[in-house]
C-alpha cells in the first residue's frame, strides 16, 4: 500500500476525531473522509488506525455509538461526543496549541 500522505503526529488522531465529531454525530467512514477533506487531502486516515482509535474513545467514554441509517441507506454506526468527550477535546486543543506555538517558535528561530 503506497504512502499517499505524511504520517499523523502520534496521539493527534484522537483529537482530530473528537474535533470532527464536535459539530454533530458521524459514522466511521465519514470521519475518515472528513479528516481527509478538511486537511486538503493531506491527512489520510487508514482504517487500521481509525478503528482502534474509535474503540479507544469508546472505552474512555468520550463518545457514544448508536446504529442508524446513512445517506446511502446503509446500516452504520454513528459516533457522537459525550460531555466527557467535549471536555477532553477542549483540554487536548489547549495542550496542542501550546505545544504547536512552542514548536513554531523554535522553527522560526532556526
Amino acid at each position: 500500500m503506497p504512502k499517499t500522505g505524511p504520517d499523523l503526529v502520534p496521539g493527534t488522531l484522537i483529537m482530530l476525531i473528537l474535533r470532527v465529531l464536535a459539530p454533530g454525530s458521524m459514522h466511521g467512514y465519514a470521519i475518515a473522509l472528513r479528516i481527509r477533506q478538511l486537511s486538503g487531502e493531506v491527512l489520510l486516515v487508514e482504517e487500521g488506525s481509525l478503528y482502534p482509535a474509535l474503540q479507544k474513545v469508546l472505552l474512555k467514554g468520550w463518545v457514544n455509538a448508536r446504529w442508524g441509517i446513512s445517506n446511502t441507506k446503509r446500516r452504520v454506526r454513528f459516533y457522537s461526543l459525550t460531555p466527557a468527550g467535549r471536555k477532553q477535546l477542549t483540554a487536548e486543543l489547549a495542550g496542542y496549541s501550546q505545544v504547536n506555538e512552542a514548536i513554531q517558535a523554535i522553527l522560526k528561530f532556526a
Binding site: 459514522h27 467512514y29 478503528y51 474503540q55 474512555k60
Partner: protein, 837 residues
C-alpha cells in the same frame, strides 16, 4: 474505575460487540469501494485489523488462552496413550506428595473442636515453669480473665473400682484400680469429644452439689469391664465404694489411659477427705483455656500478668512474684524435633518421587516435541512469536498437570480415608476438604507443570539443535532420583523390616493368657496353687485345648522381671514344667526341668553364648538372683521381648509362692479368639467371685509390629513407585526414539544392518545419561543415608549387599524397559519402514 466497568461490560457482551465492529468495518469497506471503484481498496486483512482494534479493550489474552486450551485439549485427545501415561505418572507423583502433606496436617491437627483457639495453661515464673495449677487459682482466672471464653480443668485420680452395684462381690475381695479424670464441665462443652452412648457431663446437670454423681466411661472401659452392655446408660458403678451413675460412653478418647470422667465438683464425694477444690497451694490441675475470638496468645498472657498480681494481694501463698500464665496453642508444638527430622526425610523422599515424575514427563514431552517439530516450525514460520509458542506448549503442560492433580487429589482422598478408617479415627471429610490441601494441590501441580514443561518448551521453540542435551539431563536426573529412592527406601525397609522378620521361636498365634487375679481376691498360697492345679486339669480336658501352663508373669504382658548379670539385662520368668510344650519352644541342648525343682534353670541360647562363650552351658551355675544349675538351653528367648530377638532370658521352675499372682497360658487348636469365652467360663466357674481377663498373644504381637509394618509398607511402596516411574519413563522414551527413527532404521536394514546393530544404535545414546544418573544416584543415596543414620539410631549401616541388590534390580528393570522397544525396532520390516512417513 468507570473505565474498568466498561471493560467488564465489554467482556460480558463481547460476541455482540465484535460482530458490530465487523459489520461496521464491512460497511466502511463497501462505501470506500463505491467511491473509488478504480483504486485499490486500502482496507487490509479485516481479521487482523479487527484484532488490533479490539486489543484496546484488553481482553485478547483471554481469547488466546481459550485458543491454547482448545488446541491443547484437542492434541491431548488425539494421542490418548501419551496423555493417559502423563496423567497417571503425574497423579502418582503429585498424589504421593499430597497424601504426605495431608498426613502431616492430620498428625499436627488435634482431634478436638477448633484447636486453634484452645491453649494449654501453665504457670510462668521468672525462673521457671509449672505445668499444673491449683483449682481455686484456675477458677480465679476463669472468672476474671476477659481473654478466656472458658477454662477447662482436669485432675486424675486412681480410684478403686468395685464393679456395678448390681454385681455381688465376695466380701473382703479387693477391687481393681481405675483412673478417673475429674474435669470441669467445660471439658465436654469445649472439646466435644465423640460419644457412642448417652451424653457428656454438663454444667447445669452435673456440677450442682445436689445432683446425682454422674460418670462418663471410656469405650475401653465399657468393652472391658461392662461387657459392652448396650443398656450401659443408667447403670450404677461403685468407685471407692460410692455409687455413681453412668450417663455416657466416650468413643476413642484422646487420653487413652483414662477409664472414667466425672465432674470436678464430685471429686470430694469419691475421694473422701479431699481438699482439692479449696486448697490454693496444691498445684494439681491440668488447665486448658478457650481464647475468645480475635484474642492473641500474647494479649492473654499479658492480661494474666495483671490478674496474677491482683490475686497475690489476696492470696500471697498461691501466686509467686511476677508470675503469669504461659499459654501454648493446641495446634502448635505437636511434633517433637526427632519427628521433624523424620518428617523432613520423608518429605525429601516424597519430593524425589515428584522429581522423578517430572523428569519423566519432561523427557517424554521433549521426545514428543521432536516429533512435533514440523508443526512448531510451521507456526513459527507463519509469524507466531517464540513467546506465543512457549505459551502454547506450557498451556498443554498445565492442562496435563491439572488433570493429574485432580486424579491425585482423588487418590490421596481414598488413601487417607483408608488410613483413617484403619486407625479408627472418627475424623474424615473435615480433613479431606481442607483449603490448605486444595491450595497445596494447585501449587504442586503448577510447580510440576513449570518444571517438566518449561525446559522442553524453551528448547523446542528455540533455533538451537533440539532435544539432545536437555533430554540427556532429564534422563540422568530421572535415573539418579529413582536410584536414590530405591536404595534409601530399600535400606529403610530392611531396618524396619527386621521387626517383621523377627520370628518368635514359637507359634504365638494359637496362644492366649488368662489372668484370674487371685491375689486381689484374697487367695492364699495354698488356695491359689490348688486353684491353678484344678484349672490346668480342667482346661486340658476342654476339646480344642492343646496345652496349658501356669506362669508367674504372663507371656508378653505389661510386667516383666529382670536381673543384671555383668552389666547386661537378663529377663526371667518362673514357669511350670508344661511351659516348653505349651508355648512350643525348642530345647537345643539338655533337658526340661520339673516344677518346684529348686536347683534347675533353662537359659536362652543367646544367654549361653554370651555368658559362657565356647563352653558347654549344661551344668554351669548362677547364684544371682537364686542359685541354680543350667539343665537345658532354649533356642530363643522369644517369650520375653517381642522386639529384640537377641534378648537374654532365663526360666526358673515355678515356686509355690508364685500362684497368687500367676496366670495361665493356653494353646488351642483353632482360633484363640473364639475359644476365649469358653476358657474364661472354665476359669470363672471354679469361683463365682472371680472375673478373669484374657489376652491374645497375637494382639500383643500385632500391636508391636503394626507401626513398623505400616512404615515398611509405605517405604516399600515408595521404592516400588520410583522404580515403576523410572521404567515407564525409559520405556516411553526409547519407544519414541524408535518410532522417530523408523525410517532411518528401515534404511539401515535395507542396506544390510543386522538386528544386533540396530538394537545397539537405539540403545547407545541412552547409555551415557543412564550411567551418569546411576553413578550420581548411588553417591546421593550414600550421602542421604549417612545423614539418616545420624538422626535415626535404628537405621542399620548401609550394607553393600543391599546396595548391590538395589542396583542390580534397577539395572534389570531399566534394561527391560529399554530393550523391549529396541527389540521391536529390530523387527522392523525395511519396506514397511520406508513407507512409514
Amino acid at each position: 474505575m468507570i473505565e474498568l466497568l466498561r471493560r467488564l461490560r465489554y467482556l460480558v457482551d463481547r460476541r455482540r460487540l465484535e460482530r458490530e465492529l465487523s459489520d461496521e468495518m464491512a460497511a466502511h469497506r463497501e462505501m470506500m469501494a463505491e467511491e473509488n471503484a478504480t483504486a485499490n481498496p486500502t482496507f487490509g486483512n479485516q481479521l487482523r485489523l479487527m484484532e488490533s482494534a479490539l486489543e484496546v479493550w484488553g481482553w485478547c489474552w483471554l481469547d488466546r488462552l481459550f485458543q491454547d486450551l482448545h488446541y491443547g485439549l484437542r492434541l491431548l485427545r488425539r494421542s490418548p496413550g501419551f496423555s493417559l501415561t502423563a496423567v497417571l505418572v503425574l497423579a502418582l507423583g503429585i498424589g504421593v506428595n499430597l497424601t504426605a502433606f495431608r498426613l502431616l496436617l492430620l498428625e499436627t491437627t488435634p482431634n478436638v473442636r477448633d484447636p486453634d483457639s484452645l491453649v494449654e495453661v501453665a504457670r510462668w515464673f521468672p525462673n521457671g515453669m509449672g505445668t499444673t495449677i491449683a483449682y481455686p487459682v484456675l477458677a480465679f482466672y476463669g472468672e476474671h480473665a476477659r481473654s478466656f471464653a472458658a477454662v477447662i480443668g482436669a485432675h486424675e485420680d486412681s480410684v478403686a473400682y468395685g464393679g456395678t452395684t448390681s454385681e455381688r462381690r465376695a466380701p473382703g475381695s479387693a477391687p481393681d484400680n481405675v483412673t478417673v479424670n475429674f474435669v470441669t464441665a467445660t471439658y465436654f462443652a469445649e472439646q466435644s469429644p465423640p460419644l457412642s452412648h448417652g451424653r457428656g457431663l454438663a454444667t447445669a446437670l452435673d456440677e450442682e452439689p445436689a445432683s446425682e454423681p454422674a460418670a462418663v466411661v471410656s469405650q475401653r472401659f465399657w468393652e472391658g469391664r461392662l461387657g459392652s452392655n448396650p443398656a450401659v446408660v443408667g447403670q450404677s458403678l461403685r468407685l471407692n465404694g460410692k455409687p455413681v451413675r453412668v450417663v455416657g460412653v466416650l468413643l476413642n478418647p484422646r487420653e487413652h489411659r483414662i477409664d472414667v470422667w466425672m465432674t470436678l465438683s464430685k471429686q470430694p464425694y469419691v475421694v473422701a477427705g479431699s481438699n482439692l477444690l479449696t486448697d490454693w497451694t496444691s498445684s494439681s490441675m491440668h488447665g486448658t483455656a478457650r481464647l475468645k475470638p480475635r484474642v492473641s496468645v500474647h494479649a492473654a498472657e499479658e492480661e494474666s500478668r495483671a490478674l496474677a498480681a491482683a490475686l497475690r494481694e489476696e492470696h500471697p501463698e498461691a501466686v509467686g512474684k511476677d508470675e503469669r500464665l504461659s499459654l501454648t496453642p493446641f495446634s502448635s508444638n505437636r511434633l517433637h524435633p526427632q519427628e521433624v527430622v523424620a518428617a523432613a526425610m520423608a518429605a525429601t523422599l516424597v519430593m524425589l518421587i515428584l522429581v522423578v515424575a517430572c523428569a519423566n514427563l519432561g523427557s517424554l514431552l521433549l521426545a514428543r516435541g521432536v516429533a512435533r517439530d514440523r508443526e512448531i516450525r510451521t507456526r513459527l514460520a507463519l509469524g507466531a512469536s517464540r513467546l506465543r509458542v512457549v505459551r502454547q506448549l506450557l498451556t498443554e503442560s498445565t492442562l496435563l498437570a491439572l488433570a493429574g492433580s485432580v486424579l491425585a487429589w482423588a487418590l490421596s482422598a481414598v488413601a487417607l480415608q483408608v488410613y483413617l478408617t484403619r486407625a479408627g479415627d472418627p475424623r474424615d471429610w473435615a480433613v479431606v476438604f481442607d483449603w490448605r490441601v486444595m491450595a497445596g494441590t494447585v501449587v504442586i501441580a503448577l510447580l510440576a507443570a513449570m518444571v517438566f514443561g518449561l525446559t522442553p518448551a524453551l528448547r523446542l521453540s528455540g533455533s538451537a539443535p533440539r532435544g539432545g542435551r536437555a533430554r540427556s539431563i532429564f534422563l540422568a536426573g530421572q535415573v539418579g532420583a529413582s536410584c536414590i529412592l530405591l536404595m534409601i527406601s530399600g535400606q529403610l525397609v530392611r531396618s524396619f523390616g527386621e521387626l517383621l522378620q523377627l520370628n518368635p521361636d514359637f507359634d504365638y498365634e494359637k496362644v492366649l493368657t488368662i489372668a484370674p487375679g487371685l491375689r486381689s481376691h484374697g487367695y492364699g498360697d495354698a488356695a491359689a496353687a490348688q486353684y491353678f492345679d484344678a484349672l490346668r486339669q480342667r482346661l486340658r480336658s476342654v476339646p480344642g485345648v492343646e496345652g496349658a501352663s501356669v506362669t508367674w508373669l504372663p507371656v508378653w504382658g505389661d510386667v516383666y522381671s529382670a536381673f543384671f548379670e555383668r552389666g547386661r539385662k537378663v529377663s526371667f520368668n518362673r514357669v511350670d514344667d508344661a511351659f516348653l510344650g505349651t508355648l512350643g519352644l525348642h530345647l537345643s541342648r539338655g533337658r526340661n526341668f520339673a516344677s518346684y525343682d529348686r536347683d534347675a534353670m533353662l537359659v536362652s541360647e543367646s544367654f549361653a553364648r554370651w555368658r559362657w562363650p565356647g563352653e558347654d552351658p549344661i551344668g554351669k551355675r548362677l547364684i544371682v538372683p537364686v542359685a541354680a544349675t543350667v539343665v537345658g538351653v532354649v533356642a530363643k528367648a522369644g517369650t520375653f521381648d517381642i522386639q529384640d530377638e537377641n534378648s537374654l532370658g532365663v526360666y526358673y521352675p515355678i515356686t509355690p509362692q508364685d500362684y497368687r499372682d500367676a496366670s495361665i497360658a493356653v494353646r488351642v487348636a483353632g482360633a484363640p479368639g473364639k475359644m476365649a469365652g469358653t476358657l474364661i467360663g472354665v476359669a470363672g466357674s471354679q469361683d463365682a467371685t472371680l472375673r478373669p481377663g484374657y489376652d491374645l498373644l497375637r494382639t500383643a504381637y500385632d500391636n508391636a509390629v503394626a507401626q513398623s509394618r505400616r512404615r515398611v509398607d509405605i517405604l516399600g511402596l515408595l521404592g516400588l513407585l520410583a522404580t515403576t516411574l523410572a521404567a515407564v519413563g525409559l520405556a516411553g522414551l526409547t519407544g519414541y526414539t524408535v518410532s522417530q527413527r523408523t525410517r532411518e532404521i528401515g534404511v539401515r536394514m535395507a542396506l544390510g544392518a543386522g538386528r544386533a546393530r540396530i538394537v545397539r544404535a537405539v540403545i547407545r545414546p541412552l547409555v551415557l545419561p543412564v550411567a551418569f544418573g546411576m553413578a550420581s544416584g548411588v553417591l546421593g543415596a550414600g550421602a542421604i543415608s549417612s545423614v539418616l543414620r545420624n538422626n535415626l539410631s535404628s537405621l542399620r549401616p548401609a550394607d553393600p549387599i543391599a546396595y548391590l541388590t538395589a542396583i542390580a534390580l534397577f539395572v534389570v528393570v531399566i534394561g527391560l524397559a529399554v530393550c523391549a522397544p529396541a527389540r521391536r525396532a529390530a523387527r522392523t520390516q525395511p519396506a514397511e519402514a520406508l513407507r512409514h512417513e
